[in-house]
Symmetry: C2
Subunit: 386 residues, 2 copies
């Protein structure tokens, strides 16, 4: 079993991007990331910043560079698969230290270095949705008269289909998450705060050598179960109320996530009915996934199924989104999704149903295989009454 | 003991900012935040986004609004102390869902709402260091011909001095962190991965009802102890090598952090010498802190002390930075810091010394009192050999 992506695969990734840059006539791609949006940095360099932000600068040929903030040099040197490292003030932390007397680099110097003094004509940026303004402005200032274009699609395309190593790490990540789910249901008790249950989850994830949460765990009880995005709080968990657990971890840089509704003691009848619809809907979506099918066709099958069962008014979101380094990454699967599913793509099949009273989420990772889909976790897809 | 900031205090904060806006002749302040940089959002609204970003829009008089992404409405409605909530596409998650058929708001509509149709002349932005480009552009587009200015100082000034409630929550947060430190040293063993020790820390933080980490815990061993910013890894911890624990949590929205070096079995003599210098240096800085003193004077005293002990070549960073909602926030305390320390300011006294071989960090929170400094955790400031 591997514990990390081999160095050769990191080099292949850079090569693929350089090929795409040549095809698109882009001289340099700047890939931005942060502590909470590190996916592209991790994918290209194995470096995941904390406090500060970072970027990877890829010329269409020659040596790639990692750009970090002033405080992360020893940290980045340990993790980064990219040897050349620059430190730039615009990547500093938000408390804006000045670092008097420190010699820092500039994007002009970096562009000059990676292009070997050649003039830059077109710069692509990946991470436009998240790039911090001062970093963007530093890039534009350094670009002089050259064109700066949005080039997110280059990273998206390279990352969309997973390799055997990536899939193996995602499966291992899923197994750790399943163990943490079992720790949660073995320890949860009425009268606990939601946040205490997040503690059992955290303990088991790290004990099994996860590197971090995939996102701050959702432990939601009662009416809170209808929150699409949420967190565990100090709310006391009651007997016989809906409870939703949704969480995941990152292992070997790859994310997993599991979503299951449950109750302590008997589940309210109305909720149980929705739980059974959730199970049937997720299974329907699993059976629809296969290579060659248009993504929006999956949405339509899902939607028609919900309508046929009389539960389309419970639709809040779904049924799938891409997954990999980031628990939620491109591509989303929505009613307007025009792309075709391909072998090697990975999705979170994420069935989220609810109304003003309560909600639930069955969520599991799945791989598009040559003929259908392989689901990473099949346990506990049932009515869980503890 | 309080568990959260009372609603009246949130209202006071908005009032103070509105006063500052009037003084500065700014019509609207837009305050941006993300999952990993939520400090200003939490401070103003108790809302801390996940996956998506958010902003608070404060007019110089009248009603304040919270601006979120398309998926967080039920989540934000539960947490937010601000009633009026808008959903804007530019705050969506980085996987860029389209949300077909969803009716979303725009910054033009929001500015029109908070100003009651009055024309906007000047817009201030807080969070310039971190603001995502599409959000910035949406604000600029909505501002029409009005001026858009950096106005980070408004939030910084309001947040710099803490209230009694804030200090109480910071102390509670520190107590939880101390318990987790004890869990770590009671469970750490040679042969464990660093990440497993992070597991004991996580378990104890959440068991004591922390809401999250202050930052991903540092469990650093051997040569890794010299990393200013870092994370726990899969490295195996050895007997008789330097080990550094640095971590904290957020409780009632307020951060804490503790830093201590230690070893399993006897500490290498050379490291022990540095540990004793670290202790003496931190105590020197504590004794220097008091209201009325210029911040850079604290740096100078710290520096002179290091020089007098012959350890100035071990200087990597320090000796203090602001702390509160965020473990590291304004103001930094550096050699060029011109501001005056005032009663009610809170700092992490963060002594980080090291070289190529190893490093250490003694770090604790401290409050500037009427006559000196109150340190939040005084335990374990010693040579720790387990």
């Amino acid at each position: 079993m591997i514990t990390q992506i081999p160095l050769t695969e990191y080099k292949n990734r850079i090569n693929k991007i350089q090929d795409a840059l040549k095809r698109r006539d882009i001289d340099i791609l700047v890939v931005f990331g942060t502590d909470c949006e590190p996916q592209n940095l991790i994918y290209l360099s194995n470096y995941w910043p904390q406090f500060e932000t970072a970027a990877v600068v890829i010329p269409n040929e020659g040596e790639t560079a990692l750009v970090i903030g002033p405080e992360s040099e020893t940290f980045a040197r340990e993790f980064s698969t990219i040897e050349k490292i620059f430190k730039v003030i615009e990547h500093r932390e938000s408390s804006e230290p000045n670092y008097p007397n420190e010699r820092l680099d500039t994007y002009s110097e970096i562009f000059n270095y990676v292009l070997n003094g050649k003039k830059v004509k077109k710069i692509g940026i990946s991470g436009i949705q998240i790039i911090a303004l001062p970093v963007y402005e530093a890039i534009v200032n350094a670009s002089k008269s050259s064109e700066v274009v949005k080039a997110d699609d280059i990273m998206i395309n390279v990352r969309m289909k997973k390799t055997a190593n990536e899939i193996e790490l995602m499966k291992q990540s899923s197994r750790i998450t399943l163990k943490a789910f079992e720790a949660a249901i073995n320890n949860i008790k009425a009268g606990m705060e939601e946040i205490e249950v997040a503690g059992f989850i955290a303990a088991e994830l790290f004990r099994n050598k996860a590197e971090n949460f995939a996102f701050a765990p959702y432990v939601l009880s009662g009416k809170r179960t209808n929150q699409a995005i949420s967190r565990a709080t100090h709310k006391i968990i009651l007997k016989n109320e809906p409870i939703q657990l949704s969480f995941g971890c990152r292992y070997g840089n790859y994310s997993s996530s599991i979503g299951r509704p449950l109750s302590i003691g008997k589940m309210p009848e109305k909720y149980k009915k929705l739980v059974n619809i959730g199970i049937a809907t997720q299974e329907k979506v699993f059976s629809t996934l296969k290579p060659g099918i248009k993504a929006k066709k999956v949405f339509e099958t899902y939607w028609d199924f919900l309508v046929s069962k009389g539960f389309s008014n419970y639709f809040l979101y779904g049924p799938c989104h891409g997954t990999g380094v980031m628990e939620c990454e491109h591509p989303f699967l929505e009613s307007d999704s025009d792309y075709i599913l391909e072998e090697g793509m990975t999705f979170q099949v994420d069935i989220f149903l609810g109304d003003d009273e309560f909600g639930l989420r069955f969520e599991d990772g799945a791989l598009i295989t040559s003929s259908g889909a392989e689901v990473f976790v099949n346990e506990y897809r049932e009515v869980i009454e503890i």
